[in-house]
């Protein structure tokens, strides 16, 4: 890996005091070359303090704004501070940090603009992730739709375990990015803007103590929002999104 590149790992976190230190340690162990930034999305517990103690930079949002907005804050920070490549990983220990290096290598080598860690890839024998049936149906459905639209196999469009380069970060930091609920629609937008997307099999764990954003009525809203967002993305002229060059 090119050592002169500045690399940042972004962790959006909401009330993750139980897991955050462990996640940061895992990243330090597996990818010691990158800086770590925790976006504390208005947590009411000591997530921010623990993250700082564990050696991460911390950005504190004044109130809870949601996963996508926290993530976008991280990308704005990365762009302002001249980072070349960025990885994003969840703060709840759901993503195994040992894959960060692999995810990053694909973007640093220029093979793709964005790598997405997939829990469902065919060659991923040891996937331990389980989800409710509505969400599972949604993921399979949107994986299928996304794959057709971008003419490339996508097995896990919901994955928040990604590595990207600066060009994609610019898109993520712009108003075109659906910061309320980034998901399959982002992959389609990236494809329409001409970015190279690659998928990498990773291991994800069931999140243990999180009130998941995919519980209760949320899975139904997720399916509705994705349909709407994908439909509207296809209606928009791709030049509007095109920020690749």
């Amino acid at each position: 890996m090119n050592t002169s590149s500045k690399i940042l790992t972004i962790i959006p976190a909401l009330n993750e005091e139980k897991n955050i230190a462990q996640v940061i340690d895992g990243i330090k162990k597996n990818a010691p070359f990158c800086d770590i930034l925790v976006i504390d999305d208005g947590s009411s517990d000591s997530t921010a303090v623990l993250a700082k103690t564990a050696g991460a930079k911390v950005i504190h949002l004044p109130f809870n704004m949601g996963y996508g907005i926290a993530l976008q804050t991280g990308y704005k920070y990365a762009l302002e501070n001249g980072y070349h490549y960025m990885a994003q990983i969840d703060g709840d220990g759901q993503h195994d940090p040992q894959y960060i290096k692999e995810l990053l290598e694909i973007v640093t080598s220029g093979e793709a603009d964005i790598t997405i860690g997939s829990r469902f890839s065919k060659n991923n024998r040891n996937h331990t992730y389980k989800a409710g049936w509505v969400k599972r149906t949604g993921i399979i459905l949107f994986a299928y739709i996304t794959s057709i639209i971008i003419k490339q196999k996508v097995s896990d469009p919901t994955s928040g375990y990604q590595a990207i380069n600066r060009k994609v970060a610019k898109f993520y930091a712009s108003e075109s990015y659906p910061s309320d609920y980034p998901d399959a629609d982002v992959i389609i937008m990236l494809h329409r803007s001409g970015f190279q997307i690659k998928e990498l099999p990773v291991v994800m764990y069931q999140n243990r103590n999180r009130k998941s954003m995919h519980s209760g009525m949320k899975p139904f809203y997720y399916i509705f929002k994705m349909f709407l967002s994908i439909f509207l993305t296809l209606l928009r002229k791709s030049e509007l999104l095109n920020q690749r060059n």
Partner: protein
């Protein structure tokens, strides 16, 4: 239209318009939100005074009674006003989002400066 109905429609529309203008005068309501309300008031007034127009509209939309036309128009205006608010709330949401993010980034920069680091800014 019975005189009683006409009387009430005129009173209500006049009251609405005076109320809106007064709110704008006292800066409690911004001009940009007043126009749709004023238009609503004007149309109620117009239809109350000009019964032929109301009857023409009733037959145009196929309603049975002129009263239904008034209710229908009232509903349409309420929907338009609600949409106007949704659009504005969306814009405000984006602004609040950007402010919160900027706030977080600035706080981080201040902390860095206080710790004696010199942050390099690249565009």
């Amino acid at each position: 239209m019975p005189l009683q109905q006409k009387f009430f429609a005129i009173i209500i529309s006049l009251f609405l318009m005076v109320f809106i203008i007064e709110l704008v005068r006292r800066k409690k309501l911004r001009e940009e939100y007043s126009w749709l309300w004023l238009l609503t008031g004007t149309i109620i007034l117009l239809l109350a005074l000009w019964y032929d127009l109301l009857q023409w509209m009733t037959s145009l939309i196929g309603a049975g009674l002129p009263t239904s036309t008034l209710f229908f128009l009232g509903l349409v205006f309420l929907i338009l006003i609600a949409i106007q608010f949704s659009v504005k709330v969306s814009a405000l949401h984006t602004q609040v989002k950007n402010l919160a993010q900027e706030n977080g980034l600035l706080k981080n920069r201040i902390e860095k400066l206080e710790e004696g680091e010199t942050p390099k800014r690249e565009k």
